[in-house]
């Protein structure tokens, strides 16, 4: 159902790092879980609309205005960062060229 190739693809999509042993165990667990959820195939869903939410909802909008409080928070958050430079977070390179 889920091949080693699929597992490696998912690891990449989810930006995870797994040791070979860990990936193997995960593959086993995923297969077991998918086997379990197969149960849903027994239910007739012909003509049923999907529900993304349990309540009736309407779109809620507000003005997109930064508040002064947020600016204060940003300063505080940057202060907590493990590494920073010129008022920005300093992180490892996330894109490779």
């Amino acid at each position: 159902m889920i091949s080693k190739k699929t597992i490696n693809h998912l690891i990449k999509l989810a930006n995870l790092r797994l040791a070979r042993k860990g990936a193997k165990k995960l593959q086993k667990d995923l297969i077991a879980t998918l086997q379990y959820v197969k149960k849903l195939e027994e239910i007739d869903i012909e003509g049923v609309l999907p529900a993304s939410h349990p309540m009736k909802t309407e779109n809620v909008l507000r003005r997109d205005e930064p508040s002064k409080k947020e600016i204060k928070e940003i300063t505080e958050l940057i202060r907590m960062a493990p590494e920073k430079k010129n008022g920005y977070f300093k992180t490892k390179r996330i894109l490779s060229f």
């Binding site: 995960l26 998918l34 149960k39 027994e42």
Partner: protein, 478 residues
């Protein structure tokens, strides 16, 4: 007066009002209790000792100054009440970890709306409680730090994910506690620890500042010693919040007003599919006894038929993993200091399955199908509530299981939560209340489920039962 930590919210406030004891004494008794037994129970990740005592002193000054104390305690319904908050709620200036290594050093700059409302109502945050990391689990064994032990038997699990809050309540370490439920995380630990746990209607309480697990299901709620205490806390927490677009604007009632209304003429449905053979015999027996109590006090009991809860497990597993993989994408090592290599095994497992069911080629077969069955489950409850007022069923298929039970079982949580997952999928409220003890002196709980926004009725029904039985008077020996 000693052992103030054993009091309920109401008793604590009466005592402070009559100046039988101070807020500081109340807070210090709770802290003493924590110091004495939390080494064994391990309910807390963080205890805010200094801060809590300081706040208590400030409350005492207000009490000394205030002439109209009746008015003060009415205006601030949690004035001076020490409360434990699950560590998945952001607390400004207090470390908030979600029991995960990724957020081990995270100190939020703001309060979750739930925390803000507690403080505005006069509550004192005494500490942050343990959970399964990111709320992923039903045992606290998936906490990245340590496992919480059940106060009724230290070799047993407290349930989860709000296991720290439930254990703190059962062991009288605080006066009130806050948990959050995605599917079972309030009701199941409340059941295993023998306390009251109320999961409100989805959207009744704001999710702002609650570290997100599955956003279409997450729901904060109280875990307390009594039904009245849950009513008091829910009134404080409930309401529209401009920071959570899914919060409901329906007016918030005074949940205490009708709590004494009894159950005369109330129609209770017993879904036969919820009393299946895998539910432990003792659990079924005690729930059946509870039903007899309801009959005695005037409720009408009717057997009903609902969607087999086993299907809800499958729906929930797919939807929740999908939402988890999306919500945990933000921990990318840039904004929270620590990267994805810090995720524990359970989080990785969930992210992987969620990524799978949402990925091209599988979306329709899994995610879309699960969403359609979700519609059927919602409709099924609507149909049931045309004939009956509330549903009663066991909360958990078992009493508290031994430590280690969740290990090497990727579906542990789902199987434990089989009886609460259908109602959570439909956004319904539910309350757990203790209905007796097993032969090994472990608590057994049942749940009352109602239509959306029926919290007032649930509290009324639960209160009638509590009054009749008083199981909440029994305390664990630690």
């Amino acid at each position: 007066m000693n052992k103030l930590n054993q009091l309920t919210i109401n008793q604590s406030q009466e005592g402070m009002k009559k100046k039988q004891f101070s807020c500081q004494e109340l807070v210090e008794d709770c802290l003493k209790r924590i110091e004495k037994i939390d080494e064994k129970i391990k309910a807390f990740i963080t205890v805010c000792k200094k801060r809590a005592i300081q706040e208590a002193k400030e409350k005492d000054e207000i009490i000394q100054r205030e002439k109209d104390l009746e008015n003060l305690f009415q205006k601030y319904p949690l004035f001076g009440i020490p409360v434990a908050v699950k560590d998945s709620f952001c607390t400004g200036g207090i470390k908030t970890t979600a029991a995960s290594r990724v957020l081990e050093n995270y100190i939020p700059t703001y309060d979750a709306t739930v925390v803000k409302k507690l403080k505005e109502a006069g509550a004192i945050i005494i500490g942050k409680t343990n959970l399964d990391a990111w709320c992923h689990g039903s045992s606290t064994e998936a906490s990245d730090f340590f496992t919480t032990h059940n106060p009724w038997n230290l070799n047993r699990l407290p349930g989860g994910s709000s296991g720290g809050s439930a254990a703190a309540m059962a062991a009288d370490m605080v006066i009130g506690a806050i948990g959050s439920e995605t599917a079972g995380s309030i009701r199941q630990p409340a059941s295993w620890c023998g306390v009251v746990g109320l999961k409100p209607t989805y959207g009744r309480v704001s999710r702002f500042g609650l570290i997100a697990m599955a956003s279409s299901l997450d729901c904060p709620g109280p875990i307390t010693k009594t039904v009245e205490d849950s009513a008091i806390i829910l009134r404080v927490l409930a309401g529209k919040d401009e920071y959570d677009s899914t919060s409901l604007s329906t007016p918030v009632p005074n949940y205490l007003e009708k709590i004494n209304g009894g159950v005369e003429g109330i129609k209770i449905g017993l879904p036969k599919e919820y009393f299946f053979p895998q539910v432990q015999k003792e659990v079924i027996e005690k729930v059946r006894e509870a039903i007899k109590v309801f009959e005695k006090i005037g409720a009408k009991i009717e057997e009903i038929s609902l969607f087999d809860p086993q299907y809800a497990i499958a729906v929930y597993t797919i939807l929740q993993r999908a939402e988890v993989s999306s919500n945990l994408a933000r921990y990318d090592g840039i904004r929270y200091g620590r990267g994805r290599e810090f995720f524990g095994e359970e989080a990785k497992r969930r992210i992987m399955l969620g990524t799978f069911v949402l990925s091209a080629g599988y979306y329709e077969a899994y995610y879309l199908r699960a969403q359609k069955v979700r519609t059927l489950i919602c409709q099924d409850f609507l149909r049931a509530f045309k004939k009956i007022d509330v549903i009663i069923a066991p909360t958990s298929p078992s009493i508290a299981l031994p430590l280690g039970s969740s290990k090497d079982n990727p579906m542990f949580g789902e199987i434990q939560d089989v009886l609460v997952e259908p109602s959570t999928i439909a956004g319904l409220p539910g309350i757990n209340i203790c209905c007796g003890f097993s032969s090994e002196n472990l608590p057994i709980g049942f749940q009352i489920i109602g239509p959306q926004l029926s919290e007032e009725l649930l509290l009324q029904v639960a209160f009638a039962y509590q009054n009749e039985t008083q199981w909440n008077q029994r305390k664990p020996k630690i």
